[in-house]
Symmetry: C2
Subunit: 172 residues, 2 copies
Amino acid sequence: MANFDKITSTKVQKGTIVLHKGDTCNFGYKVVSGCLKSYVIDKSGKEHIVQFAPEDWFISDMDSFFNNKPSNIFIDAIEDTEFLKIGKPSFEDLAKHDSNALKEQNVKMRKSLISLNRRLIGLLSSTAEERYFEFLQTYPNMVQRLPLKLIASYIGITPEYLSEIRRKIEKK
Amino acid sequence: MANFDKITSTKVQKGTIVLHKGDTCNFGYKVVSGCLKSYVIDKSGKEHIVQFAPEDWFISDMDSFFNNKPSNIFIDAIEDTEFLKIGKPSFEDLAKHDSNALKEQNVKMRKSLISLNRRLIGLLSSTAEERYFEFLQTYPNMVQRLPLKLIASYIGITPEYLSEIRRKIEKK
DNA sequence: CTCATTTCTTAAACTACCTTAATTTTTACC
DNA sequence: GGTAAAAATTAAGGTAGTTTAAGAAATGAG
């Protein structure tokens, strides 16, 4: 292992924008406490959440990070959050000289790929209610911490409709 | 480079099932000619296409392959297809001894990540018609080769509705 | 070439989910 | 503790996409 010096710890307040769309993403973020979210904004101005990153999750714009291009996503703090910033130089240096680091990168990407795939399949084949249950499994205990609005955005429906779904579930 | 012996070329006829759901996926498939598709079947028996793999594309069930568990997807030949089977031992040996191979893996996964991300965002924020245009960009020239039915499955709508969309587009 | 099978098209009725808007509840701040 | 702002609920009406079904076109096997 090497280059620990390039990994720094940061604290930000709720609401802070950690990565701006259009900027190059020079870091990977590993959350220590609190929660980050990544999201896109579509043509009609609507926000779509790609990922939540509570404690121990890793979040980044891989495309921007690895290919050095402007990011398509935003990353903000949903709560007061502490995270580790893992800089690109350390990543790349590691990758050049240290094949273990390359392997770690690969493992991380694999995990992202697998979870993205799961989500894709959910969107293709499940109803909104089923996706809500999938969300509950993917992010256990987060229901209590996340506003309904953000959960709705994550599963791809309006807050109004999620509200209706919850009512229906409770009646059972 | 090493372990060429473990990479074998295979030809299969249209309709052949290359990977069965429930079996462990012991290979990555690199298509030389023809086309493969990967898909899931949901509770109601409907097929949802995850990926097409025409010439030069790579296809596999990463989750099954790397984590040694039963696959959730099927992979079949849409056309008579020739592909390279890259076995797990050679993958791992390469990873151990050949850092170029590791890097190649890395690059491949990045590409997959990027395209998966695009698709996810499309499903969250675009209409069926927009997703159809995105499909046309992702798989140029494949419209002519793929039956409408499969394209509809890929973009997440019924064949009937894709038929309607095409009619609407032509009227313009 | 011909019959059978699969694929595609069209259209009408239906449903999951959205939009708008008004009301209530919760959160945040001086 | 009160008031403003944000979040959540509810309900009515609307639309994108589905279902069902029937006919037309294309594909494939003998």
